[in-house]
Amino acid sequence: MSVQERDPLTGQVTTGHEWDGIKELRTPIPNWWLITFIVTWVLSIGYLVLYPSFATTKSYAPGILGWSSRNDLSEATQQARDMQSAWRNQILATPLEQIEDNEELRRFAVAGGVAAFNENCAACHGVGAVGQIGQFPSLIDDDWLWGGTITDIHTTIRHGIRTASDDARASEMPAFGDVMTGEEIVATADYVLSLSDRSLDAMRASMPGAALFADNCESCHGAGGEGNREFGAPRLNDAIWLYGGTRDAVIRQITQPKMGQMPTWESRLDEGTIRMLAVYVHTLGGGEK
């Protein structure tokens, strides 16, 4: 250290450093700043010890508090579940058909159903359950392949359609491209399309496809094309065509039928959620009593 020297102009002590005749004044950082700085260091050591702080070769140092944001989240989720448990228990205890009669219960079920639907079902059936023509059925119209009562909907969600599950709804439409000639298929398609046209009622029986329909289709789809929910055989005499209502689409469907699949949700969702989903879908506009 050089001898302490005061700058004549400001009266301040200099550091004793000098460059080209310019001397540096000693203006240290304020003590409060220095102390704060040191305190932050001390605190940071505390954090280092208490909280997860640095990676180790295999994992990370968990800190002695054992805190993790993942635990926080699962605790919060569990808390939310506990808060809902009274409602969920009530939904499990109430017979399915009576859930909607209880206004508050219905509202809870619909709220939970929307969330579960958007997470699990909307990928295929679309947000708002509007479906996709040619792919997945709309759940808000009044046409149901496997039944539209809340019990039917619940069974469908629970066991799925055409899955490996023993209880799943299952049926198979033969591919008539293998057993019928092209002319026969076209004639059948024309007959199928006529079913939903009331103006053709009188002459329908004389159509070339009538006999073919009676032989091949009637057993599942019904004599008048009313469909059969036992086998998930769609109505053919209405205005709703899942795989398209054009002549081409019907011919294609007879030749090489598409048959939708739906997962078994029993193994993925708990019974309460499935019930809430059933209530939600049932209240979307097409639900049957």
Binding site: V127, V130, D141, D142, S196, T283
Partner: protein, 481 residues
């Protein structure tokens, strides 16, 4: 020497000054007491007034229902969307305050401000305790603390009663049944009431409140403020010193001649004006930020002037600058000035807007929005359905049932989510919470649905008397043909 110091540096009660201002009698003290009594009664009694609104609604005349997001004010019910009305009321309050200040100085501070009213009340308690149990005795201090804390708790509960049912709330508070928020609110308000009125007192006015800082911008040369008539008060002297001759003989010649007069002015420097001042200032230093314009020093001085046989009004409400005008005559207040007229107009506009807004408040709010997803639903019989979310909230005295029908779509049927079949007009019961949230399905008659978009009007009527509550313009989609 400057006679007026608007932005004077103020210090809290100086050590030499009294911890509690002395009591005083007089005109302004009476006004202050009466105003305070009215305001305190108003504050404490209002939540207890009942107002019958029928069985479903609270019967408290003034109730801020925070969980329900509504404000009951006698026959009126306000919802959050009525906030512009509150803005009008606030503007009215602000310009009313500006106008009052322009005319008569800080009368708000001196007579009506809650800080003034409560501090005044707490001063009274302190004086009473000292008179009963002696000054600075343990008993007196304990009595003061008990009464003041009790009053603070009462104030807090009184405030919370505006937000809860006043009749059951105090009981719930004692039994522990009240919600946590109520305890926090009462606790915080008790603390702040005690802190502001019993502890901080004039420090709030001197250091915390922004209002004194505004006054310089609001006062003008025609505003009434508390003035010390320096021309007749100075020089101050003991009572036994003979009076200045200028004050006894007002001839201009004599006044001229007596400039070397050794006599005193009217002020006998008795310090009464300082000792009664709630903020502990010396008004004889001129207009200053610490003066809340309560006029208690006027009462004190008038009393002293009467005792020494001099005319009252050495300290008086007068315009700024009158302290050297040299007149016993009070100047007349000029009410009609551009500034006051402007404030009056603005007040009227704000008042008019608020009244207009209140009269035009909608009692029934209906939201009908198309469901997102797809514009229409194809039904199996060939008809099309449009789905809407339907929300209704009302604040009518009674509304048990509504009827809804659609116009612009002949043969269309309507139904809500829980119904199986649609009707041309659908009825719905309104639940006790006066809110409906449901899905509304409108189905066009088979083969009569529109091609593309068509405008429809959904009409909501009161099923009891057929009165139209709301008409919502929306549209209906059908498949393009």
């Amino acid at each position: 020497m400057a006679t007026t110091t608007i932005l004077d540096t103020v210090s809290p009660r100086k050590p030499a000054r009294l911890a509690i201002p002395q009591t005083v009698r007089g005109r302004y003290r009476t006004i202050k007491t009466v105003v305070a009594a009215i305001l305190l009664t108003f504050y404490f009694v209002t939540p207890w007034i009942r107002w019958d609104r029928g069985p479903q609604l609270p019967d408290q005349a003034v109730l801020f229902d925070l969980p329900g997001r509504r404000l009951f004010l006698f026959g009126l019910e306000f919802w959050p969307q009525d906030l512009p009305i509150a803005v009008g009321v606030l503007i009215l309050g602000a310009f009313g305050l500006f106008g009052a200040t322009t005319l008569a100085g800080r009368v708000w501070c001196g007579f009506t401000c809650p800080q003034t009213v409560w501090t005044d009340l707490f001063f009274t308690i302190e004086r009473l305790c000292e008179r009963l149990f002696g000054k600075d005795t343990l008993l007196s201090n304990v009595a003061k603390a008990i009464v003041q804390v009790t009053l603070a708790i009462a104030t807090a509960i009184g405030f919370a009663a505006y937000f809860n049912d006043a009749l059951t709330f105090p009981h719930a508070l004692v039994t522990g049944a009240a919600p946590m928020g109520a305890y926090i609110a009462v606790g915080v308000l008790t603390l702040t009431t005690w802190l502001f009125a019993a502890y901080a007192k004039e420090r709030v006015c001197l250091h915390m409140c922004p209002w004194p800082r505004f006054q310089a911008a609001l006062l003008d040369k025609d505003s009434l403020v508390v003035t010390y008539q320096r021309w007749r008060g100075e020089p101050r002297g003991k009572k036994k010193v003979p009076l200045r001759s200028t004050l006894t003989d007002l001839s201009a010649l004599v006044r001229e001649a007596s400039s070397f007069d050794a006599g005193r002015g009217d002020c006998i420097d008795c310090q009464r004006c300082v000792n009664v001042c709630p903020t502990g200032i010396d008004i004889r230093d001129g207009l200053q930020m610490g003066c809340i314009g309560c006029g208690l020093c006027i009462d004190a001085c008038d009393d002293v002037m009467a005792r020494i046989g001099r005319p009252a009004g050495l300290i008086r409400f007068d315009v700024e600058g009158s302290d050297s005008a040299g007149s016993f005559q009070k100047p007349t207040v000029r009410f009609l000035r551009p500034k006051t007229l402007l404030y009056a107009i603005l007040c009227l506009v704000a008042l008019g807007s608020s009244v207009f807004g209140t009269l035009r408040m909608k009692s029934v709010l209906v939201d009908i929005d198309p469901q997102r997803g797809q514009p229409f639903v194809q039904l199996s019989d060939g008809s099309v359905r449009n789905d809407f979310s339907f929300r209704l909230a009302h604040r009518l005295p009674t509304l048990d049932r509504i009827a809804i029908h659609a116009e612009g779509l002949p043969g269309a049927t309507l139904r809500f989510a829980d119904a199986q079949t649609g009707h041309e007009a659908v009825h719905l019961a309104v639940p006790g919470n006066r809110r409906i949230s449901d899905r509304l399905f409108i189905t066009a008659a088979p083969r009569r649905g529109p091609s593309g978009r068509t405008n429809i009007r959904i009409v909501v009527t009161n099923a009891a008397n057929g009165a139209t509550l709301e008409e919502v313009e929306t549209y209906f989609w059908g498949p393009a043909r």
